[in-house]
Structure formats: C-alpha cells, structure tokens
C-alpha cells in the first residue's frame, strides 16, 4: 500500500495522538468552508458594532469630515439624556412598540392562529397565506397600498366606503392619526410572524388533549383559556420578546410612510436621520452612533438572554465523523 513501516509510524504515534499532528485529513479544511461566512460576519456585523462604539466617542460630523474630528469622551452619550427631543422620541417609540406588540404582533397573531385552526384546513391555509402577503410584498408597494387606504376623500378607501357613507368626517388619516397609522401599518406585517409560530404550536397540541377537553364539556373560550394558552406558553414568550426587539429597532415602514413627520420619529429613525439620511445632508455621526449604540446594547442584552433561554447546548449534535 506504499505506506510507512510500523517502526516509523509507531515512533511518532505511540499510544497518544495529538490532533494537531494528525494526518487524518487536513486540520484546517474547515476554514475553507467557514471562511466566507466568517469574513462577511466579521466585516458587516462585528466591525460595525465596534465602529458604533468608537465613533460614539467622537464629534465626527459632516462639518468635521473624516479627518478633523476629535475624541470627546462621553459627551454624545450624556447629550442623549439632556437632549430636549429625547423624551419625545422615547415616548413615541414606547407607544409604537407597546401597541403594535399587544394588539397585533401577539394579540392579533394569537387570534388569527386560533381562528384559522378552527375552520376547515383549506380555508385556514388560505387566510394564513393572505396574511403573509404583507410580509413578502415589497415594502414600498405595501406602504403605497396603505397610503391609499388612508387617503382623504374622494380617493381614500376607508373614507370613501366606511366613513363618508356613515356621515362621519373624512380626513387624511396618516396626518390626522399618525400613531394609529404607524401601528396599523406595522401590525399588519408583524402579525404573520406570530401567527405562523402559534399555528404550528397549536397544531402540535395533541388531539387527544383537545378531545378530552371537549368530553369534559369545555367550550371554545374555556379551551383557549385552559388548554391552548398554557400549551403554547413558550412560543408566546418567544414571539413577545423577539418581536419587541424587532419593533424597537425597525423603522423602514415608518420612514416610507411619514419619514418621521407628525411626531412619529421613533428612536431608530431618529438615529438614522442623524447619521445617514436627512433632508439637509448634515450628519452628526458621533451623536447618531451613540443613539444607535443604545439600540445595539439593547439588542445584545436580548441576544444574550436568548442564548440562555434556548437551552442552546441541547441542540448541538456532535459530528459523527472524526477524520477531519
């Protein structure tokens, strides 16, 4: 077989094998597989996190450019607490996150999943597909649809077919009720995530348990209260926390709908405007990074919590080939 003799190999192998010297495959082959992913994650996740915190300690802005800036310590971070607009941005963010979460991303999601699992299968599937459409629709098209739904008479659909025939006052709803507008727009996208997760959780509740509750004489409300909700406790907690984080940091829909007008500039949009995109083209990168830094810190805290929450080590299977 053209191999080494016993003596040669026994000499360096003996009875212990240091993996580093092993000729069983190339120890660094995994780098080929992992390399591209590591590079991209490093450049577009890890480097930006570091950059956020570094620049937040500078006064870098479109006035200083990339060369004339200087270190200013915690000034940007202190400025967050003293900035006159801070409380307004916190306020709208809290209202937006709370109501979208409670009424739509968890509440409506739960209602949709319970209802679609209690009607014939095909119909349930069709409704869930309908509710997925906002999520897959290009966001600008989706917002355009809502703008028209909420436009003033004689164009707007809500005004034309609900309010005007009922003799109610018509209005351009986005500017008249901006909070409701951003909550509706985000909620109709957000509900589908929880809907899917809850649906699969409800479908995996054993049929025997459902039937047993029927035999015991439970009506549908009692069934939801005593069987379904306790059984999907884990997915409920997961969707709630996951969606809280998504809502805190998302601003895409709000940006297209109002661009922060009418008091709808949530925290993340505020940071985006300060740092990357505003009407005047004047950027306060240092301050924007501190604003974004707050969101990054929140995200990291959530993520660490997930790692504990997930019982991560139970999910890992050990590779059952050792030649590499």
């Amino acid at each position: 077989m053209g191999l080494k003799t016993v003596e040669e190999i026994s000499a360096d192998s003996a009875f212990s094998f240091t993996p580093g010297k092993s000729k069983l495959g190339n120890k660094y082959d995994w780098l080929i597989f992992m390399g591209p992913a590591m590079l991209l994650v490093g450049v577009f996740f890890i480097a930006p996190v570091i950059i956020v915190f570094i620049i937040s300690f500078t006064d870098m802005s479109s006035l200083t450019g990339f060369s004339n800036w200087s270190w200013i310590g915690f000034d940007n971070w202190i400025k967050i607490f003293t900035h006159p607009q801070s409380s307004q941005h916190v306020g709208v963010t809290v209202i937006y996150v709370f109501f979208t979460l409670v009424f739509f991303n968890v509440g409506l999601a739960l209602v949709l999943s319970i209802l679609t699992t209690h009607i014939p299968k095909a119909a349930g599937f069709a409704f869930r597909a309908l509710w997925l459409i906002p999520r897959i629709t290009p966001v600008v098209v989706y917002i355009m649809m809502w703008r028209y739904l909420m436009a003033d008479s004689p164009y707007g659909i809500f005004n034309e077919i609900f309010f005007r025939p009922l003799g109610l006052d018509t209005s351009e709803m986005v500017s008249a009720h901006p909070y409701i507008a951003i909550i509706l727009v985000n909620g109709f996208i957000g509900a589908s995530f929880g809907m899917i997760i809850f649906t699969s959780a409800i479908e995996s509740i054993s049929k025997d348990m459902m039937n047993a509750s029927l035999v015991d004489g439970a009506n549908i409300m009692q069934r939801i209260r005593h069987i379904i909700i306790p059984q999907i406790k884990w997915p409920l907690m997961f969707v709630t926390t996951f969606q809280t984080l998504s809502l805190i940091t998302s601003f895409e829909q709000i940006m297209i709908l109002t661009d922060g007008a009418y008091g709808t500039e949530v925290w993340s949009l505020w940071a985006y405007h300060k740092g990357l995109n505003n009407y005047f083209g004047q950027f306060q990168w240092g301050f924007a990074m501190a604003l974004a830094g707050i969101l990054v810190i929140i995200s990291i805290v959530f993520c660490i919590a997930y790692l504990k929450f997930f019982k991560f080590s139970d999910m890992i299977q050990e590779p059952k080939i050792e030649t590499l």
Partner: protein, 292 residues
C-alpha cells in the same frame, strides 16, 4: 323540535371564526383589490374606477406606459442582478458554513453555532450607520472599490451578510438530517470532504436549497432599506427606490401609475409565493424555531 335541531346543526363553530377572520382581513383584501383595479384605471374614488370627468368607468392601459421607459427596464435589470447574486451568494456561503457547522469538528464550532443563532435575532438595521463607514472604507481600497459605497456590489455584499444567519441556520438544519452513513460511505469510496459536500450531500438537500433560493430572491427583489441607504446614484437604483421616489414626489402623486409599477414589482413575488408557500412557511417558522 325541528327548529331547535336546525339551530343546533348550524355550524356556528365554523361560521363565527370565519366571519371574524374576514372582518380582520378587510384592509388587506381591499388594498390588494385596489392595487389591481387602479393600475387599469385613469383614477379611482375609493374602489371605483373613474374617468377624467369624474364619472365611473375610465379603464385604461395608460398606467402601464412606464413599461416603454428604458429607465424602468434598467432598474428592473439592477433589481434582478441584486436578487440573483444575493440568492447565489447566500446559498454558497451558507451551505458551506452550514455544512461545516453541522458536520465538521473544529475548535470554536460551538461559538460559531451560538453566534449564528443569536445573530438571527440581532437587528442589522441598528448597524446601518456604521455599515456606511465600512463601505466608505472599502471604497478606498484599490480593487475592492466595486464593493464600496454607492455601488451595487456593496449593496449585494451587505444584503448577503444580513441574510447569512438565517441561511446558515437553515442549511445546518438540513445537513443535520442527512444520515451519517451516507457521508461515511463517500469517504470510504475516496471522496475528500469538499467533494462529499459538493457531490453527495448538496444533492440530498435540494428542497432546502430551493426554499432558501426562493426566499433570498424575494428578499433581494423587494429590498428597499439597504439600496436606499447605500446607493445615491440613480443609475444603479432598484425598483423599490424608484417607487419610493415616485411616491415622495412633491407634485400630486399619480397613484394609478405608482400602483402599476408596484404591481409590476409584486408579480414575480406573488408568482413565487403561490408555488412555494409550503417551503416559505417552513422557513418563516423554521429559522427561529430551532430551539423550541
């Protein structure tokens, strides 16, 4: 007695949920209906198409005249390039990494797995401003400037990176399900790990590849925030940013035209969606469900 039994057999248990669902879905149904109607109308009042004199009627194809505009086709081409390269990139990078994480024992594997999982929850939007600096830096590096700020290449790279955590996690899950004996057989037959990956395992996870492809394509085709943030150049813009520009116009918006362009962008997505709903549902639910 008959009347009572009739009432009893009336399927309240089905009709009530159905009705509630229908009521909740009204905005979606009306909105989608309007998009379709208005693209063929001069103008609309609520859901009713009207002509220029304000009377009902006025169906027209004029809104689709944008299809004759070469700019739209250039933007469509850009969008297509973005979507396909994103798909290809996500598939390549995440299948490789997914394979290694599922099947190869190496130092730091657990750390990578953990961070992959956690990064799925990490909102990439919080890093947009910092990513701007990364792209500016790349622009300054010779040869790499095609991936820098204000280039389609840069937008593609950033988009791939944001899709990676989900992609890797999915691919890892698919690889986990392949029996070990298959790979062992290949190794004994004389394959290297790379060849095993390419010739034996990749064909086994075709459903996973299909699902991730469709998903990535839709993401790329619809993406707005990343191109909008990192491409100011009108020549390399995509359909999403184009529609946004039409909508944000200071002049009164011609909704019918915007709707037509929107429908134009929506058609391939709906098409994919109809044929791959089950795959997509699995991805939406599966990506994060690993832990449950």
């Amino acid at each position: 007695m008959i009347a009572v039994s009739k009432i009893r057999t009336f399927p309240w248990g089905k009709v009530v949920p159905f009705t509630i669902l229908l009521i909740f879905s009204i905005p979606l149904i009306l909105g989608i209906y309007w998009i379709i109607i208005s693209t063929f109308s001069v103008s609309t009042r609520g859901l009713i198409p009207i002509d220029s004199a304000g009377n009902p009627g006025g169906l027209t194809l004029a809104n689709w005249s944008f299809l004759k505009d070469p700019e739209v086709w250039r933007l469509t081409w850009n969008t297509f390039v973005l979507a396909t390269t994103l798909t290809f990139g996500v598939l390549l990078v995440s299948s490789m990494a997914g394979y290694a994480l599922s099947r190869i024992n190496f130092k730091g594997r657990k750390t990578f797995l953990g961070s992959t999982m956690v990064l799925q929850a990490f909102p990439a939007t919080t890093l947009l401003i910092a990513t701007y600096f990364v792209l500016r830096f790349i622009s300054g590096v010779p040869l790499l400037s095609v991936f820098g700020y204000d280039t389609l290449g840069g937008v593609i790279l950033v988009s791939i990176a944001t899709q990676l955590p989900l992609g890797i996690w999915l691919m890892k899950g698919f690889f986990d399900a392949i029996p070990w004996d298959l790979e062992r057989a290949a190794l004994i037959d004389g394959c290297s790990r790379w060849r095993t990956f390419r010739q034996i395992l990749l064909p086994q996870i075709r459903p996973g590849i299909a699902a991730l492809s469709v998903f990535s394509f839709i993401i790329g085709w619809s993406s707005f925030l990343i191109p909008y943030s990192f491409m100011t150049n009108q020549d390399t813009a995509v359909i999403s940013t184009y529609i946004n520009r039409l909508m944000q116009d200071t002049a009164p918006v011609n909704y019918s035209t915007v709707a037509a362009v929107g429908l134009f962008q929506l058609i391939p997505v709906i098409f994919f969606f109809i044929f791959t709903q089950k795959y997509l549902l699995a991805i939406f639910a599966g990506g994060m469900k690993g832990g449950s």
